[in-house]
C-alpha cells in the first residue's frame, strides 16, 4: 500500500511539474523514489508543521499542487487551524497526507497515535476526507485527490494488511461505498474503512455478511448508505478511529435521518491507549482485534435476530 502511494505520487509529479511534495521531516525511505525522480519537487519543510501547511496554502495560491505529508498525529491534528483557515476556507487544491493513522505507532505512545483525525477533519467545510483500505484504493484515492479542485485529507493507516479488492479499481467516485462482498440479508451488513476493511472481510466470510468499504468519510453518499441499510438487517461500522465523529458517526448521521436502522459502531473507545505494545496488541486493548470484533458482531447478529422491533 505504501508502494502504491509512492508510485502514485511519483507518477503524478512526473506528469505535472506543479505537483510538490512537502514533508515535515518525515518519510525517510518512503520518498526515496520521489527524491530520485523529482528532486526539484521535493521540499523538506523541516520539523515545522504549522508553517508547512500555511506555506502549502501559499504555494497553492500561485498555482502549485502541494501534497503535504506528515504523521496523522501532526498533519492534520497539530495543524487543524492552518487546514481550516489557510486551506479549506479558500477551497485550495492541497492534499494532506496523514500517515500512520490509528495505532500504527503503537510502541511510541499517545503523541504518535491518531484516533481523532477523522472527527476533526470531517467538521471542516470544503475538506474531503478519504481513507483507502488497500493498495488499489490508495492508487484510486491519489488519482481522485489530484483530480479534484479542492482540499483533501487522505488518511493512511496500517498499510500491510493485504488486499481487499481483487485488482485495480478504475476509479473511486466521490462519496461512494465500494461493495466488497455479498452476504445474508437477514444479518447486519458491515461498513468499514481503512485498516478495518480487511478485518471486516475476514469476519464476514465466517458469518456470511455483506461488506462495504468506505474510502470516503466525507462526503459519504446518502443513497449508498441508505441502500446498505435497506439491503441488510442492521449495520455495523468498523474503523481504527474513535467511535466519536468518524465513520460510525457519518453512517448514523445518514441512517438516522434517511433510513433508520440499528447501527453498531465498532471503533476505538473514548480513551487513550494505556500500554505499550505491537499494533495487534493495541487493537486487542481496544477490542478491535479480529477475534473481539467477530465476537461482538456475532452477538449483534443474535440480538438483531431476536429483536422484537423490526426495522426494514
Amino acid at each position: 500500500m505504501r508502494e502504491a502511494f509512492s508510485n502514485a505520487l511519483v507518477r503524478l509529479a512526473l506528469a505535472d511539474s506543479k505537483v510538490l511534495l512537502l514533508t515535515g521531516d518525515h518519510g525517510y525511505s518512503l520518498f526515496d523514489e520521489f527524491r530520485k525522480c523529482c528532486p526539484d519537487q521535493y521540499i523538506n519543510a523541516g520539523i515545522a508543521e504549522q508553517n508547512m501547511v500555511g506555506m502549502a496554502a501559499g504555494l497553492a495560491r500561485v498555482g502549485f499542487r502541494p501534497f503535504v505529508y506528515g504523521l496523522a498525529a501532526f498533519v492534520p491534528i497539530r495543524t487543524v487551524e492552518q487546514i481550516k483557515l489557510d486551506i479549506a476556507h479558500d477551497d485550495l487544491p492541497v492534499v494532506l497526507l496523514g500517515d500512520g493513522a490509528g495505532f500504527v505507532y503503537s510502541h511510541l505512545g499517545t503523541s504518535h497515535q491518531s484516533t481523532e483525525d477523522i472527527a476533526c477533519t470531517r467538521a471542516i467545510p470544503q475538506l474531503q476526507v478519504l481513507s483507502p483500505a488497500d493498495r488499489f484504493e490508495m492508487t484510486a484515492a491519489m488519482d481522485y485527490a489530484y483530480g479534484t479542485t479542492g482540499p483533501v485529507y487522505l488518511r493512511m493507516g496500517k498499510a500491510d494488511l493485504g488486499d481487499v479488492h481483487t485488482g485495480p479499481l478504475s476509479s473511486v467516485k466521490q462519496g461512494r461505498l465500494l461493495k466488497i462482498r455479498d452476504g445474508r440479508a437477514d444479518r447486519p451488513g458491515l461498513i468499514a474503512t481503512g485498516s478495518m476493511v480487511r478485518a471486516a472481510v475476514d469476519i464476514a466470510t465466517s458469518l456470511d455478511l455483506m461488506v462495504w468499504s468506505a474510502p470516503f468519510l466525507k462526503p459519504l453518499d446518502v443513497d449508498d448508505v441508505r441502500a446498505a441499510a435497506q439491503a441488510a438487517n442492521g449495520l455495523v461500522t468498523l474503523e481504527e478511529h474513535s467511535v466519536l465523529g468518524g465513520l460510525g458517526a457519518a453512517v448514523t448521521e445518514i441512517t438516522s435521518e434517511h433510513q433508520p436502522t440499528r447501527v453498531l459502531r465498532i471503533g476505538v473507545p473514548d480513551r487513550f491507549s494505556e500500554h505499550c505494545g505491537t499494533h495487534a496488541y493495541l487493537l486487542r486493548e481496544h477490542g478491535l482485534d479480529t477475534d473481539s470484533v467477530r465476537e461482538r458482531v456475532g452477538a449483534y447478529c443474535q440480538l438483531l435476530a431476536s429483536n422484537s422491533i423490526a426495522f426494514v
Binding site: A48, N51, M52, M55, G58, L59, R61, L85, D86, H89
Partner: protein
C-alpha cells in the same frame, strides 16, 4: 458622515484621509481595533503608492505583488487603501458591519484585494512564505510583503516561517513588523519581551532595517534599500510605530485596541485629522 471619492487626485493615499476612512468605518460599524489600523497607515500608503504592482489596477491580476496582512486586526487600514483604489466603494465604508455585508473585522481572503484570512495570528506570514516560494520557483519578479504585528511575533509559526524563508533564500519576501509596542493586554515588554528584533531577524538570515513607521519618505527609502540589498536573503523591515497614531487621545493608549467611538470622540478624532465639521 462625509465621504469623498477622490481617486486620482494628489491627496490619494494621504494618511489623514486614510485615518478618516478608518474612523468612518469604525464609527459606522461601531467596531474596535482602530489603534491597530492607525499604526500601519503610512506603511500601507507607501506600499500602495510606490511599491505594490497591480497590472490594470486589478487586485486579482496574476502578475501582481502580494500584500499579506498577517496582523488581520489592522484590516480597516487596508480597506481604506482599497477604497482609494476604487476596489471598495463608499457604500462599503458606510455599511461596515451591517448584516449581510462582506467586510469583516479581520482580514478575509474572500474579499477581493485581501490575500489571506488572518486574525488568528501567525497564519498570514506562513502563507506569504509559501507564495514567495512559489513565485520564486516560477522565476517571476513579483514580490511579497507580509505585515505582522509585534505582538504577533509571539506566535511560533512566525519563527518557523523565518527559518524556511532564509533557508530557501526568499529574496522576494519582505517581512514588515509593525512595532507599536503593544499587544492586546499590555506592552510587548510586559507581556512577552521580544528583545532586539533587528538582531533576531539578522541572525535568522534576513537583510534588516529599522525605520520610523510613520515617516513616508523614510519607509519608501528603506524598502528600496532592502530590495537593493541583494538576491539571496529575505528582507525584514522593523517599523517603529505608535499604536493609535494620528489622534492624540488614542496614541499609545491601548484601550483603543478595544474602544468604540461615540459621537463626541468621532467628531474630535476627525477634527484633529483636519476635517472639521464632521459630525454624526
Amino acid at each position: 458622515m462625509i465621504l469623498h471619492m477622490e481617486a486620482g487626485t494628489d491627496d490619494r493615499f494621504a494618511p489623514a484621509r486614510m485615518r478618516r476612512t478608518v474612523l468612518e468605518m469604525a464609527y459606522a460599524g461601531s467596531t474596535v481595533h482602530i489603534a491597530c489600523a492607525f499604526s500601519i497607515i503610512e506603511l500601507l500608503t507607501v506600499l500602495y503608492r510606490h511599491h505594490l504592482r497591480y497590472p490594470g489596477n486589478d487586485p486579482r491580476a496574476e502578475g501582481r505583488d502580494y500584500l499579506v496582512l498577517s496582523k488581520g486586526h489592522g484590516v480597516m487600514a487596508q480597506y481604506a487603501c482599497m477604497h482609494e483604489l476604487g476596489w471598495l466603494g463608499d457604500s462599503h465604508i458606510q455599511s461596515y458591519f451591517k448584516d449581510g455585508t462582506d467586510l469583516k473585522g479581520l482580514s478575509d481572503s474572500r474579499v477581493t484585494g485581501l490575500e489571506v484570512t488572518s486574525g488568528s495570528l501567525g497564519h498570514g506570514f506562513s502563507v506569504g512564505v509559501g507564495i514567495a516560494l512559489g513565485l520564486k520557483r516560477k522565476a517571476t519578479d513579483q514580490k511579497v510583503y507580509a505585515i505582522v504585528g509585534d505582538g504577533e511575533l509571539n506566535e511560533g509559526p512566525i519563527w518557523e516561517g523565518s527559518l524556511v524563508a532564509a533557508h530557501h533564500r526568499l529574496s522576494n519576501l519582505m517581512l514588515i513588523v509593525d512595532k507599536n509596542g503593544f499587544q492586546a493586554m499590555g506592552t510587548t515588554d510586559d507581556v512577552l519581551a521580544l528583545g532586539d528584533l533587528l538582531a533576531k531577524f539578522s541572525s535568522f538570515g534576513f537583510e534588516t532595517l529599522e525605520v520610523d513607521g510613520h515617516d513616508e519618505s523614510a519607509i519608501d527609502e528603506a524598502i528600496r534599500q532592502l530590495w537593493a540589498a541583494g538576491p539571496t536573503k529575505p528582507k525584514a523591515l522593523i517599523a517603529r510605530t505608535v499604536k493609535g497614531k494620528g489622534v492624540t487621545f488614542m496614541e499609545s493608549i491601548n484601550l483603543w485596541h478595544y474602544t468604540r467611538l461615540d459621537p463626541q470622540s468621532f467628531t474630535d478624532a476627525v477634527s484633529e485629522l483636519g476635517f472639521p465639521g464632521a459630525s454624526k
